[in-house]
């Protein structure tokens, strides 16, 4: 067994019920580092380009990376991957909690599900015992209710991941839920699970993971633990989690309000981190191996509705389901968070879809007649509850919105595409990019659509000048290499970003675990390889030049910010094109946004160049050749 690995991989054919277990391919892990990397490679190799994301030829992968479950800060993550029904490209999403480590403790690094089950099933793993079990009795249950029922039936010590009605009904932004509030939300992985009739996964394991140099790892991590416990920002983190960011985001004109119509929310004091702690907090909550406790276990209390318990809302949900919906009470935001969690929908895309529908209602593009007699007004939690039920069960025009904002806008038409706030089909995260050009570029170019966790640049934009677009591209490329590494290794990013753990320290941990002896530069190159393989895959599947897919909705350049500290600010289409031109050049892609053979061969992806050439979309050679270094490490200067 290789260091850091549990040792076994499983392939499960859901159509026949055949379960095959075999030794994990160590070389594959060495090259792709697990998690998002190995997922990208397997999806590229195995899913036919014409396979429908919700059809039998798509595969669904669960993968604990090389560092998950090891003695390191927050080695808690597990990665899910398949061709995304939302973006029609390689998709991945991860979550914390305890599932990823427990999967390794049961002896498994990765599970690959093929085909479709003839009836609802769940996967039962108890160390060596692996069974596909009948899930008829669980099908139809909401996510949190299903997790509770499975724990009652199997035992508290099983770690459970479930989908809800949305996933069962093929809502394209469905999530996977675990630990009563941790979600793999993005790219619609819950819809893929549902399409395969896979309701849940239940895992228990008690094995250990061998690491290369335990003494060195223990010494290093103990030092990190002692240092971070004294870090001045640790206690504020523990108290507020990411919800504290709501006020800052509003003050600095990047929070979405009313479906990104503006970036200033007049009732921010009613939905901020202080309100969450004061009115909703029950207890703090941590993932496996974490002493940061950024999770907030909360309640939502609304007269006339049942008191509900949930985890969150954290910043993304707090903004996208708070200011973006015009909510004026933190209990309402928390309640919508719970609705989305229990129905099994991503609370980020979910917030974006509700907001888009609200703006359609505001503009008279949909009416009460379309909404079964209900309104859909800003700030109405009752309207949201009714609307989400329509979407989760694909009732009436709920069916349109179940495809996300891009597909709903295509149905509604009449100019609504302009304010369907998505890229590549995936809805924006909780930041407006009109006065943060690097952030907008990050959304435009992320391999899974508009997601902040590939690259986040708001403070860079502020430091470099928020009207400037020049020079953003190289920074975005650098961040797109370093941030996704955490999803590749399946560890939490927050210790790096917020508590001063350096990339060098994390790579040192990686080497203590694996014995690989790699450098930061080498792992960044691995990340670049993953990024380019996903780009090739996306272009091949969608059969057009890369640039076609990289534009944000027209609101991003047609509308200036109408209120608040960012009033009058905005970007032009020419500036957006300038950023794309610089970005493609920084990546070594041609002016159409297609990777070139020289670049792909430099990254050891000659086979991807061959396939891209065969499909007619290989990038044209760049005069002067590819840049020797792609991406530029950003050193903050202005603050």
């Amino acid at each position: 067994m290789a260091n850091g690995l549990a040792g076994k991989t499983m392939r499960i054919n859901l159509s026949t019920g055949a379960i095959r277990s075999f030794p994990t391919d160590e070389e594959l892990y060495r090259r792709w580092h697990g998690g998002r990397g190995i997922t990208a490679k397997i999806l590229y190799d195995e899913v036919p380009r014409d396979a429908a994301p919700l059809g039998p030829k798509n595969i669904f992968i669960i993968n604990s990376g090389i560092m998950s479950g090891c003695f390191i800060p927050a080695g808690s993550k597990v990665e899910f991957g398949s061709v995304s029904p939302l973006t029609n490209g390689p998709g991945d999403s991860n979550m914390g909690g305890h599932l990823g480590p427990t999967l390794k403790f049961a002896g498994y690094d990765m599970i690959i599900f093929e085909d479709v089950s003839p009836k609802p099933v769940y996967l039962f793993i108890d160390n060596e015992t692996v069974e596909l079990r009948d899930a008829s009795g669980y099908w139809g249950l909401k996510s949190l209710d299903c997790e509770k029922k499975l724990k009652e039936d199997l035992g508290e010590d099983f770690e459970i991941a479930t989908i809800g009605p949305a996933g069962e009904n093929g809502v394209l932004f469905s999530c996977i839920t675990h630990d009563f509030g941790r979600q793999a939300g993005r790219t619609g992985q819950g819809a893929v699970m549902g399409s395969k009739k896979l309701k849940a996964i239940a895992v228990r394991g008690n094995k250990s993971i061998h690491v290369n140099d335990l003494a060195a790892l223990r010494k290093q991590v103990t030092e990190i633990m002692l240092r971070t416990q004294k870090h001045p920002n640790m206690i504020p983190w523990q108290k507020y989690g990411t919800a504290f960011f709501i006020q800052w985001s509003n003050a600095n004109a990047c929070i979405p309000a009313y479906n990104f119509q503006t970036t200033y929310y007049e009732d921010i004091d009613k939905i901020d981190g202080d309100q969450l702690v004061e009115k909703c907090l029950i207890s703090h909550k941590a993932c496996f191996g974490c002493w940061m406790n950024c999770g907030k276990y909360t309640k939502a209390v609304i007269p006339g509705k049942p008191e509900v318990h949930l985890e969150g809302p954290e910043y993304e949900t707090g903004s996208l389901c708070g200011s973006n919906l015009g909510m004026k009470d933190i209990n309402h935001v928390a309640y919508i968070n719970w609705l989305l969690d229990n129905l099994g929908m991503d609370s980020m895309s979910g917030g974006g879809v509700i907001a888009f529908a609200m703006e359609c209602f505001q503009r008279g593009l949909i009416t009460e007649a379309d909404l079964e007699g209900q309104t859909l007004k800003w700030g109405s939690v009752d309207d949201v509850e009714h609307f989400l039920d329509m979407v989760a069960h694909r009732r009436g025009i709920g069916d349109w919105f179940a495809g996300g904002t891009k597909r709903a806008a295509a149905k509604i038409g009449r100019g609504s595409e302009k304010f369907a706030m998505q890229v590549k089909g995936q809805e924006f995260s909780g930041y407006d990019g009109r006065w943060a050009p690097g952030m907008l570029l990050s959304y435009m170019t992320a391999d899974i659509g508009a997601h902040h966790n590939r690259s986040w640049t708001i403070t860079v934009d502020m430091a470099e000048g928020r009207e400037r677009v020049e020079g953003r591209a190289k920074i975005v490329v650098y961040l797109q290499h370093i941030r996704p590494l955490f999803d590749t290794w399946c560890i939490c990013r927050l210790f790096w970003g917020e508590l001063d753990i350096t990339p060098e320290e994390i790579v040192e941990s990686l080497n203590h675990i694996t014995g690989w002896g790699v450098s930061v530069q080498e792992v960044l190159r691995t990340s670049e390889m993953i990024w380019n393989l996903n780009r090739c895959h996306y272009i091949e599947r969608n059969r057009n030049i890369g640039r076609t897919f990289d534009y944000p909705p027209a609101r991003s350049w047609e509308d200036k910010i109408p209120s608040g500290p960012g009033q009058g600010k905005g970007l032009s289409l020419a500036q957006i094109d300038q950023m794309l031109d610089e970005y493609y050049a920084a990546r070594g892609w041609d002016t159409s946004g297609n990777p070139t053979r020289a670049l792909l061969e430099d990254l050891g992806l000659g086979y991807a160049a061959d396939r891209l050439e065969k499909s007619g979309f290989l990038g044209k050679p760049i005069p002067g050749g590819i840049p020797p270094v792609r991406g530029e490490k950003y050193k903050p200067k202005a603050f």
Partner: protein
């Protein structure tokens, strides 16, 4: 009067700690808002999400008292 400011990350670089790894002793006049004190020592208040004192969040218009120990919380780099 004297207050003590604490910060990690890039804010720490700008704060220039002189008491320990994270803490700087700052002499300032009474009655001045924290955001003005920050500006006075070369820190752009826009890069501070909030202040944290005695277990409570404080806005940057908070007026520190003599002897206050205040942690400066940077914005989270993506929620």
């Amino acid at each position: 009067m004297v207050i003590y400011l604490k910060a990690g990350g890039e804010l720490r670089t700008k704060l220039k700690p002189d008491v320990d790894d994270y803490t700087r002793r700052v002499e300032t006049e009474a009655g001045k808002a924290l955001k003005d004190i920050l500006t006075g020592i070369g820190i752009n208040p826009a890069f501070v999400a909030f202040a944290f004192k005695d277990g409570q969040m404080k806005r940057l218009d908070y007026v520190p008292l003599d002897g206050d120990v205040i942690t400066l919380q940077p914005p989270v780099s993506g929620g």
